[in-house]
């Protein structure tokens, strides 16, 4: 935390309502996630955290992070509340609006209440530093497990601590006592010697006259009262009585409903439609043909979708139409071979000299692994509601990427950005899917042709077939081993380097490494999918290491330990996982136990999967997961994220497969893209380690270790190595 002042700025002011607002602007010094189409600037991103103390002594945390069930809003509110000594029972969260100027004091003022009285010391800041920083921020994404790590750690804690110090200063002056004699608790200030007591709100206005501390003192973990506690999520009560409002639940006066269909070959154009008989169907109001989709607007969604089913749509004859699954993988293999034979490998990471070390290796181990395309399958189908009036547009949707959506809609409609307002809603699942701008842009195009608001809803089939997919990929390893079976040369080749860059970098102690890739050439669009590249590389590397272990006559746990001997955090996680699973015990007949360890988004997570193969098909009985995210802000919330990541990983590993034939996605709904259900869900044991290391993420790190731990367990049970996912396909094809 010592370096934050070089990157961050604190500001404060008082609203005319008497509320105190303290804000922290931070450039986190962390490379923006270079997810396709989401980054408009190479500059560092700016994260903002604000706190508002209202006159009724209610404290509100304000930050630009949306809620898709990951509990981030609750966790970062805990971080604020603890540093502030707030009353947890009287605290709220408010999602910051989608505007790049949210970093900007003037806009925050407008947002938080309007008519802010600006303290004099702020004037230079508003026009100077903050404005300059504002221009850098074009990104406001919930993803990459960043909320707690950056906004919480570098924003909320500092804002809370600064606000508290300013309140104490104001009270000290009024009470004419030294600030050091004032203590704070549950949003009250106390001077015990004189038995004085006041609410934070009583000094909110006075506190704004003080310069925010340049470096507020943060609590040590021993003093935490709210951070590190399993506080109940703030959003959960509304999710048990049907009152939570998701994007799909928006209801506007005069609104009509749109059902849509895009070309089955993603990105292809629509050439013509035959609407005969459709326009007279009940409830149909409008038929819209765009270059890339058709929409039926009707009085009700069911009427719109019934009519859409009757519409005859013709598509262009795109070259992608000839592409099928086998050809995609065959192209991968050819380009990989060609890159090596022609010396055209794209370097990912290299140290030592892997090729030279290979020449002197006692033995060489080679293996090829593959993973398929995957859809996100959010429970809430894609949807957006748009109202256009004159040169202004309002959008209601659930998104991980509000600012990009606002900008994309403004560009599509030719409106000024300032005239486009995004009202972000709860997301019925995100997992990376809701970071794309396609669905709100489509809704805006439909609304532009209507003189009433429209709610566009994609069918489940459209949601499955017009996704942005976890890429299919292949990886080849050529590993040089010494006589004892220890790796002396590590050569990995794979398809497509996306994000994050370290996903393909081995965590193991290796001397000679060359990791390289080739780029794919197909029309299936890339989308970030829970943990992004870690899902592929976790499976590749952790399957390979398991194979190396067995080739060396060792078990996967012991072999990994030796390769992680100089990494105490990894070892601690690995050991705790093996202990939790009682590694080495005699397993029931037909059972197998597999282990894996993946570091992603700053969190180290190891898992043991126990599988029962006695019926020939895998039945996962137990998953033991241990993670070290540095420090756990909300233990139960973190555990829930790991449990979720495990089930998400198991669904993908066992069943997940999007296949392409004639350029189209073949799967359409949950009958052919199955999701794990309760009867198949294992018992999940979660432990966490507070190592004190820099904070890691929670939403994604539970997923990458699951698939390899499962396939390693299947190998342990049956001797059958699954090198191609999903397991259910691999079991029948890779024998």
């Amino acid at each position: 935390m010592g370096k934050w002042t070089r990157r961050g700025f604190i500001t404060a002011g008082v609203l005319t309502t008497g509320a105190l607002v303290v804000g922290v602007g931070i450039r986190p010094g962390h490379r923006a996630p270079k997810l396709a189409g989401m980054v408009t600037s190479e500059d560092e991103t700016l994260i903002n955290a604000w706190v508002k103390i209202d006159t009724d002594n209610v404290i509100t945390a304000i930050a630009p992070h949306s809620e898709m069930g990951q509990g981030a809003q609750t966790a970062i509110t805990q971080m604020l509340a603890d540093e502030m000594d707030a009353d947890w029972e009287k605290i709220a969260f408010m999602e910051a609006p989608a505007t790049e100027e949210f970093a900007n004091y003037a806009l925050a003022r407008e947002y938080a209440a309007g008519n802010l009285t600006l303290p004099r010391f702020m004037e230079g800041t508003v026009d100077g530093v903050f404005m300059a920083m504002t221009k850098r921020m074009e990104l406001q994404i919930t993803g990459g497990s960043t909320s707690v790590r950056f906004t919480g750690q570098r924003g909320m804690r500092i804002a809370g601590a600064a606000a508290r110090e300013m309140l104490i200063k104001a009270a000290a002056k009024d009470w004419d006592v030294p600030a050091t004699q004032i203590r704070s608790e549950d949003a009250y200030l106390y001077h015990d010697a004189s038995e004085r007591k006041a609410r934070y709100a009583d000094f909110a206005a006075a506190a704004a006259d003080y310069m925010p501390p340049a470096q507020p003192k943060l609590k040590s973990s021993a003093d935490f009262k709210i951070i590190g506690k399993s506080k109940q999520r703030l959003d959960i009560p509304s999710k048990v009585d049907g009152s939570a409002v998701f994007g799909i639940d928006i209801d506007l006066p005069g609104m009509k409903y749109a059902a849509v269909k895009a070309a089955p070959v993603i990105g292809s154009k629509i050439t013509s439609i035959d609407a005969r008989g459709v326009s007279t169907m009940p409830g149909v109001v409008k038929i819209i043909k765009d270059d890339y989709f058709v929409a039926i607007v009707a009085d009700g969604y069911w009427q719109a979708s019934q009519a859409l089913g009757q519409l005859d749509v013709r598509y262009e004859n795109s070259p992608a139409k000839d592409l099928n699954q086998d050809a995609i993988f065959e192209n991968f293999r050819q380009s990989m071979s060609a890159a090596v034979s022609e010396g055209k490998e794209k370097k990912d990471i290299a140290y030592g000299d892997a090729r030279k070390a290979l020449d002197s290796a006692a033995q060489v181990f080679e293996a090829e692994y593959s993973v398929p395309f995957l859809a996100h399958a959010c429970m809430e189908p894609m949807n957006a509601t748009v109202r256009i009036e004159g040169e202004s547009a309002e959008i209601w949707t659930g998104t991980q990427n509000p600012l990009s959506i606002r900008n994309a809609v403004a560009e599509t409609l030719g409106f000024k950005k300032d005239n486009v307002t995004l009202h972000n809603q709860f997301m019925g699942g995100g997992f990376g899917r809701r970071s794309s701008t396609d669905y709100p842009v489509m809704a805006a195009k439909i609304a532009a042709q209507c003189d009433f608001p429209i709610k566009m809803i994609w069918s489940r089939e459209e949601t499955t077939q017009q996704d942005w997919y976890r890429p299919a990929s292949i990886s080849r390893f050529k590993i040089g081993l010494d006589e004892a079976g220890q790796p002396v040369s590590w050569d990995q080749q794979y398809i497509d380097k996306l994000d994050p860059p370290e996903a393909s970098h081995p965590i193991y102690n290796l001397s000679d490494v060359f990791v390289h890739y080739v780029e794919s050439d197909h029309h299936i669009r890339f989308g970030p999918w829970r943990s992004v590249d870690h899902t592929q590389h976790g499976f590749y590397i952790e399957s390979l290491v398991d194979e190396l272990a067995h080739a060396a006559g060792q078990d996967g746990y012991t072999y990994r330990r030796a390769l992680l001997a100089d990494k105490p955090r990894h070892l601690a996680v690995l050991d705790a996982t093996a202990k939790a699973a009682n590694w080495g015990r005699t397993l029931p007949d037909g059972h197998g136990l597999g282990i894996s360890i993946v570091e992603s988004f700053g969190t180290i997570c190891a898992q043991c999967v126990e599988v029962d193969m006695s019926n020939g098909e895998p039945k996962v009985t137990h998953v033991y997961s241990v993670a070290d995210p540095g420090f756990v802000v909300n233990p139960d919330g973190f555990a829930a994220q790991i449990e979720s990541g495990v089930i998400y990983g198991l669904t993908a590993a066992l069943h997940g497969e999007i296949t392409i034939e004639e350029g189209r996605v073949m799967q359409s709904n949950f009958h052919d893209y199955p999701i794990m259900r309760m009867a198949d869900a294992p018992e999940i044991h979660v432990e966490t380690i507070n190592s004190g290391a820099r904070l890691g993420g929670g939403g994604e790190p539970g997923t990458p270790p699951t698939a390899p731990a499962l396939t390693n367990a299947i190998f342990n049970a049956t001797g059958q190595r699954i090198r191609n996912l999903p397991v259910m396909t691999g079991l029948t094809s890779s024998v």
Partner: protein
């Protein structure tokens, strides 16, 4: 014209009898707690009770529920607003993540407990098999159902269950 009795209130609905109940609840009655997930009775997000039985509203035509009692998530609490034991258990176990499937999960669970107040694990698995939770909170759902079951009144003589014909058949094949 169909008569819908939803959460105890009677409504006359002017709509095609083939239109699924889901859209009448959401668009006509503005009861948005019941969710659209798949449209083909594969995910359970639209689960409501018809005469106490869990059905998938996305595949239940209005014509099939004419005059019948429908209960949605908005009607799961009692008339005084006291939460159903399941709802409190859902909070206690911090069940929802994204929360989108939870109305359907709760309605399936409530139907289970009404019929089987002390369900076994297998009973729970069977009753909940039609409900997908993409956030994977199955362990918590199961724990919460068990907690709520402890608070359910002991079985008394069963109220006569009304046959709901087609709806039940659809439910068992698709669910």
């Amino acid at each position: 014209m169909a008569t819908l009795i939803v959460n105890g209130v009677s409504h006359e609905i002017e709509a095609d009898p083939a239109q699924p109940l889901l859209w009448a609840l959401r668009e006509t009655l503005k009861l948005n707690g019941t969710k659209f997930g798949c449209g083909i009775a594969q995910c359970g997000a639209c689960t409501v009770h018809v005469e106490g039985q869990p059905v998938r509203a996305c595949q239940t035509p209005l014509g099939a529920v004419d005059g019948l009692e429908v209960t949605t998530i908005e009607g799961l609490a009692d008339a005084d607003g006291q939460m159903h034991a399941l709802q409190q258990a859902w909070i206690d176990h911090q069940v929802p993540q994204c929360g989108y499937c939870q109305s359907g999960q709760l309605m399936s669970a409530a139907a289970l407990l009404a019929e089987t107040p002390a369900p076994s694990d297998a009973d729970i698995d069977r009753a909940m098999q039609g409900n997908i939770c993409r956030c994977g909170m199955y362990g918590r759902i199961k724990s919460a159902i068990k907690q709520a079951a402890l608070q359910m009144p002991q079985p008394s003589p069963e109220p006569a269950m009304q046959e709901t014909g087609d709806i039940d058949a659809e439910e068992t094949t698709n669910g």
